[in-house]
């Protein structure tokens, strides 16, 4: 159920914390707590943009929220913006953001992100998570296992398990596999369940959010 006061949304430039009209700052704090506990993963280390869709908060209240988010959830506030008009729906309603141009925001954040190498196959029941940046796997990601990364996921083998890139909301994140045979992919909060045959393609593929705001999977030629 949607929270009436705050909403956490993944946008192309990262996570937004949208604050709607409310009675007191205490009410906002409680709503934030609810919204964050609803996400079944840690947001630790992530940054958020506070979007005020409500009568503007006092300077004091904002700094209170800022320290609260930092201390309680390890969330850094990247900026505060005020939106008079209703906040646009994620991506779909933002036509100017449609195509991913690696030269802009994504390239920058990708360059500044750390990456972690996992030098083995990830087997059923195992999870590999790296919210701080990208994951590179020197092996397969087997069915029944899961890889999650704040940035990109690169599998130098067969991806059969589920992969979740851009878990902190960076929607320029991509998933690349030598053989992409996953039944479930996620980038930001976009899900994709490829209706693939189990047959190997024989070439690497890349999954990313395409112009239609859906995850597209295509032959990987070069980045």
């Amino acid at each position: 159920m949607a929270n009436p006061i705050v909403a956490l949304r993944a946008y192309r430039d990262g996570l937004h914390l949208i604050i709607k009209p409310h009675l007191s700052i205490a009410e906002v704090e409680e709503a934030i707590q609810q919204e964050i506990s609803r996400m079944n993963r840690s947001l630790s280390g992530t940054s958020v943009q506070i979007v005020l869709k409500c009568p503007v908060l006092e300077e004091e209240e904002i700094s209170l929220l800022r320290s609260k988010l930092q201390e309680t959830y390890d969330l850094t506030v990247r900026g505060v913006e005020v939106t008079e008009a209703p906040v646009s729906a994620p991506i779909a309603a933002a036509p100017t953001m449609h195509t991913i141009t690696p030269a802009t925001d994504s390239r920058d954040s990708r360059d500044s992100e750390p990456s972690r190498i996992v030098p083995h196959t990830i087997r059923s029941g195992q999870t590999e998570e790296f919210p701080q940046g990208s994951l590179i796997i020197y092996g397969d990601v087997n069915s029944g296992s899961e890889v999650r990364a704040g940035g990109d996921i690169v599998v130098l083998g067969t991806l059969r398990g589920s992969a979740y890139a851009g878990m902190n909301g960076r929607l320029s994140a991509v998933i690349i596999a030598m053989d992409l045979a996953a039944l479930q992919l996620q980038i930001g909060n976009y899900m994709h369940r490829p209706t693939v045959s189990q047959k190997p393609r024989g070439y690497p593929e890349i999954a990313r959010i395409g112009a239609e705001d859906v995850i597209i999977v295509e032959k990987f030629v070069k980045f």
Partner: protein, 264 residues
Amino acid sequence: MGRVIVVTSGKGGVGKTTSTANLGTALALLDKTVVVVDADVGLRNLDIVMGLESRIVYTSMDVIEKQCELNKALVRDRRVDGLMLLAASQKNNKDDIQPEQMKAICDKLRTTHDFVLIDSPAGIERGFRNASAGADEAIIVTTPDVSAIRDADRIIGLLQNARIEPINLVLNRFSAELVGNGSMMDQDDVLDILNIDLIGVVPEDSGVITSTNRGIPLVYEDGSPGAQAYMRIARRLTGQRIPIPDFAQKGLLNNIMNWFKKKK
């Protein structure tokens, strides 16, 4: 010092007990001293498959509770020299035994025998942990179907975390015919996923069921394809280099027909 090998799978009913009984017997026929240990406490059936049910007096539980000495609890298989069974208690359950207690038993058995084969229960819980606690190697038994393979994969991950290696694969109930007509995964497909060493392929063999019912391990039935497969695996376990025959070859005609089907 003997080798302690856990025979395990994750999924139930894929042939762990059948494999333990046959490999144990086969190793003894190759003049090795062997103890097969039933670690499926509460659901034991290694004794039945080996035809030793009526001769059990003590179980590993009695040893743990110090009701009897370990070597008194071992049941000798009279058909072949050097083969013993350590039975599991049927009236206890898996939580009644601690991993360290199983490990202590294995460590003792390895000082007097060349091989200690442990028949693990299905699952990834306590029973599996008890069974693998004293092992330094593992044999994973799987059938060529996706759910068994996924469970095997899960188990391999757990064994690797526990630093148990090598981990060898037995592909059981393989049918060249089904692979030939494209309705069963072939061994390359399985190995591609599991990525461990294959130590043998055991064909689907109706002799397994009759031998189980008679309590005489299949390996005594010289001509049967299952018996030959288990004998080859036992030889490989002792370090002999024996090629794995390509069972799918028999389905050559099928393959050709399949190829024509695909062309259409």
